[in-house]
């Protein structure tokens, strides 16, 4: 199902590392866009970080978004040596919002992962704060209920304009 028409050797290796999980691969100058399922993501991430061909040492960005019944984790990883960039769109089924935490590879993803949990409720297996959702929350108050960036989120109002939306008493 992969459209890997004109991939260079370098991109081909990354694409084949995703195996059956590869949905789409597009290469442009200095940039490779991969779309993979979450099952193949952990092993692909390991290759991208540790293999000397890639050595993507700079976790530039991570964010989540929701589109067409699917949740996406959008990773942008770069190398500060070669300035090559790989963008990985990791697809999550909306019933099973769990992804591997990659802090052991890129510690800089810590707060990005916490933000994805806070706003979308995506769990990161292996994140040190994952067990306690109050610790995992980052932008919203610790006792906030729900994940406001999801399309099924219903805003709650306290009824008192002097109070915050979820503030009691």
């Amino acid at each position: 199902m992969a459209e890997d028409g004109a991939l260079s050797d370098w991109a081909q290796r990354a694409a084949s590392a995703a195996g059956d999980g590869l949905i789409n691969a597009v290469e442009t100058e200095h940039q490779l866009n991969l779309c993979v399922t979450v099952a193949s993501w952990a092993s692909l991430a390991e290759l991208l970080k540790n293999d000397p061909d890639f050595a993507l040492n700079y976790p530039a960005d991570l964010c989540a978004y929701e589109q067409n019944e699917y949740f996406h984790l959008w990773y942008r990883l770069s190398s500060l040596e070669t300035h090559r960039t790989v963008i990985i769109d990791v697809l999550l089924e909306s019933e099973f919002l769990t992804a591997p935490s990659l802090l052991s590879l890129w510690p800089g993803l810590n707060w990005h992962e916490r933000e994805c949990f806070d706003l979308y409720g995506i769990r990161f297996e292996g994140h040190p704060d994952q067990a306690d959702s109050a610790q995992m929350r980052i932008l919203l108050p610790e006792d906030w209920e729900g994940h406001p960036f999801r399309s099924d989120y219903e805003p709650v109002f306290s009824g008192n304009p002097l109070h915050g939306p979820q503030e009691r008493n």
């Binding site: 530039a60 959008w74 500060l80 510690p107 932008l139 960036f149």
Partner: protein, 371 residues
């Protein structure tokens, strides 16, 4: 009499720094665990300034979101305007007129000078050199006067739009800017004499808060923080946008990785910004300043992202479009957010007073941390 020796242990002390504390440069709360005067653990608590801007972006057409970006990194508003405009332009395939590209670079570099001057003043105050603040803000005032002449505002400019900039240069702007560029390097030299060589200042900065080259990369550090740790990484050079590839400037890099290195990088960057603004004024072509975009702007479905070098580091906007006038998602990759996440690593084992110096050297703006 017998001497009784007992070992005195204490469970340590938990100290709250913030949310209101002058040295945190905004509403940031640090919960630090102290062992005597040494910090054993630090947990930053953020979100006091969270306005849900990314959610608000979703409810508005693309171009109406530009004014909100002024409120992210409010010391470098024009750089935020640029980053979101670039992402919109990539999504819609819009070509920016050449004159507008020059004006964008000119404005962003002036804004970078203003932002670094705030860093200089507040950081020097943090480590006890209060006089510098007055000189730095005097010079910043002149930059703000220039930007006010151009845009009509002093902090939230909203001047760079998708497709270009709002207008050309007003009458007399070029002359006043040239005069400022002539005077400003002398002020920087004076600052070097006042602060950079100061023995007390150096003692507070050298060898403090060291970020190794590997750590800087693995934690996603960018901008002056990465360049202070030895990475020759400046998006204006490595992934040039607008007309940066046609202008001459150097990227200052220091390898020490300490607070001093980050300070030195920012001071040198101001000199380079002066060079860039001079070249923009000299090479500014004639022509339109805003591309024509339909009133109802519907970019094709897909994703796009921009990468720009803001005064604080890599500022990037990521957008998802489904072909309607409203975005599905706009995400802001804020450099301050990433740099602040390094703080617990940096302050473990240092003294309380050094926390202020280290935090100051990261130059975070809580507006873009909390969004």
């Amino acid at each position: 009499m017998t001497q009784v020796q007992t070992e005195i242990t204490s469970p340590g002390m938990s100290l709250n720094m913030g949310p209101q504390h002058p040295s945190t440069h905004g509403v940031l709360r640090l919960i630090v665990q102290l062992d005597g005067e040494i910090i054993s653990e630090c947990r930053p608590v953020i979100g006091y300034l969270h306005r849900g801007l990314e959610k608000m972006f979703e409810a508005r057409p693309y171009r109406q979101n530009v004014p909100f970006t002024d409120r992210l990194d409010y010391l470098g508003s024009l750089n935020n305007n640029l980053a979101i405009s670039q992402a919109i332009e990539r999504l819609g395939g819009i070509e920016v007129p050449e004159r507008a590209q020059f004006i964008r670079v000119l404005l962003c570099e002036l804004n970078r000078i203003a932002s670094h001057l705030v860093f200089l003043g507040t950081f020097a105050t943090d480590v006890g050199a209060t006089t510098v603040f007055l000189y730095a803000f005097r010079e910043r005032e002149r930059v703000l006067d220039l930007l006010e002449m151009m845009t009509g505002a002093r902090l939230t400019y909203n001047w760079i739009r998708a497709g270009g900039v709002a207008s050309g240069l007003p009458e007399g702007f070029a002359e006043r800017t040239r005069q400022f560029l002539k005077d400003f390097p002398t002020e920087l030299d004076a600052n070097d004499r006042l602060l950079t060589g100061n023995r007390i200042f150096r003692a507070r900065c050298e060898g403090v808060g060291v970020i190794s080259k590997e750590m800087a990369a693995a934690w996603g550090a960018s901008g002056p923080v990465a360049r202070g740790s030895g990475w020759d990484f400046d998006l204006r050079k490595t992934a040039p946008y607008e007309v940066y590839d046609r202008l001459q400037f150097d990227v200052p890099v220091h390898s020490a990785g300490d607070v001093m290195a980050r300070y030195l990088v920012r001071i040198e960057e101001m000199r380079q910004s002066v060079r860039l603004v001079e070249q923009c004024l000299a090479q500014l072509p004639e022509g339109p300043t805003l591309a024509k975009i339909p009133k109802v702007f519907k970019p094709p479905a897909g994703t796009a992202h921009s990468r720009t070098e803001s005064p604080r580091g890599e500022l990037s906007f990521f957008m998802v479009s489904n072909g309607t006038p409203h975005p599905v998602r706009i995400h802001v990759r804020a450099p301050s957010f990433v740099h602040l996440s390094m703080l617990p690593e940096l302050v473990r084992g240092v003294k309380v007073a050094d926390v202020i110096a280290i935090l100051g050297s990261l130059d975070t703006v809580l507006g873009e941390v909390d969004r």
